[in-house]
């Protein structure tokens, strides 16, 4: 299915990156390409939240899962595991796609978040995100897989990205419609 470019939002010492237009019934699937998201604070987490049509604030109810595969630069450590601290059970926090991010100037998170049928007023809204970054402990390539649903049948028309602590120093979110 072809991708149709919609918009780019670029961070520059930003507390959050909010996209409040362009998410509607035009497409049944939206992709958010998160490119070189660099934190201003060491060892923090990057995540996203949604706002429903007519709602106030980025605080929708999310149930999610997250697991990761990891391997370090020293070729001495590998791992595959679920990360309980980063999932949510009907929670309203920003959903993590990374945690304990390294802050070095050449290190960042990149990945793709897919949101399905945001304008449906029948079904909850499913999302899947996969990406990679460098874990602050031991130079690990950390590959995270996040999935879940926004537990509302109201249409979702806004999304926000932010760090759990500190600004987003740099990076871009490119939004595409699929189909």
């Amino acid at each position: 299915m072809p991708l149709t470019y919609i918009s780019t939002t670029t961070a520059s010492g930003s507390a959050s990156l909010d996209i409040t237009s362009g998410i509607d019934s035009t497409y049944n699937e939206y992709q958010f390409h998160m490119v070189n998201i660099h934190p201003a604070t060491d060892s923090t987490a990057f995540g996203f939240q949604f706002n429903a049509d007519g709602g106030s604030g980025f605080n929708e109810t999310i149930t999610s899962t997250i697991f990761k595969a990891e391997h370090n630069e020293g070729d001495s450590g590998t791992g595959l595991g679920y990360h309980t601290a980063s999932d949510q059970g009907n929670g309203t926090a920003y959903q993590r796609v990374s945690y304990d991010m390294e802050i070095d100037s050449d290190e960042a998170y990149s990945g793709i978040l897919t949101l399905y049928a945001p304008s449906s007023t029948t079904y909850v809204k499913h999302f899947v995100a996969k990406g990679n970054y460098i874990h602050h402990s031991g130079k690990y390539s950390q590959n995270t897989y996040v999935a879940g649903y926004i537990n509302t049948t109201s249409a979702i028309d806004e999304i926000s990205f932010k760090m759990e602590s500190g600004n987003i120093d740099a990076g871009s979110i490119h939004m595409y419609g699929v189909g």
Binding site: S7, T8, T9, T10, A11, S12, G13, S14, A15, S16, L17, D18, I19, T20, S21, T41, S43, T44, A45, G81, Y82, H83, T84, A85, E164, S165, G166, N167
Partner: protein, 108 residues
Amino acid sequence: MATLAEWKTSLRAAHSSLTKNVDGVTITLSTDEYNATIDGWAQASFDKEVADNIIANGGESANYAQYRRDAYPSIGDQLDMQYKDAVNGTTTWKDAIAAIKTKYAKPS
């Protein structure tokens, strides 16, 4: 380790104002947004410091299961320890697991 209040004071000193990017436009946070953001950052930083301290030094935590999972040797290494214990009559595997369970204690 800094208190939550100390984190808030420190973050306010470091950021006299904050901005966000909305649909490509940079906007200065309102006072309410600024306060909520600083409070959120302070809470996250405080919680992270508490967790890092427990990971390093051990202690009771509601997240004890995650800390134990991260600390246990790989399944392969545990099987190797059990094989050597069986051959040599040692208790290396049992001791290693017990040490991790003791370090990351379930809240009483």
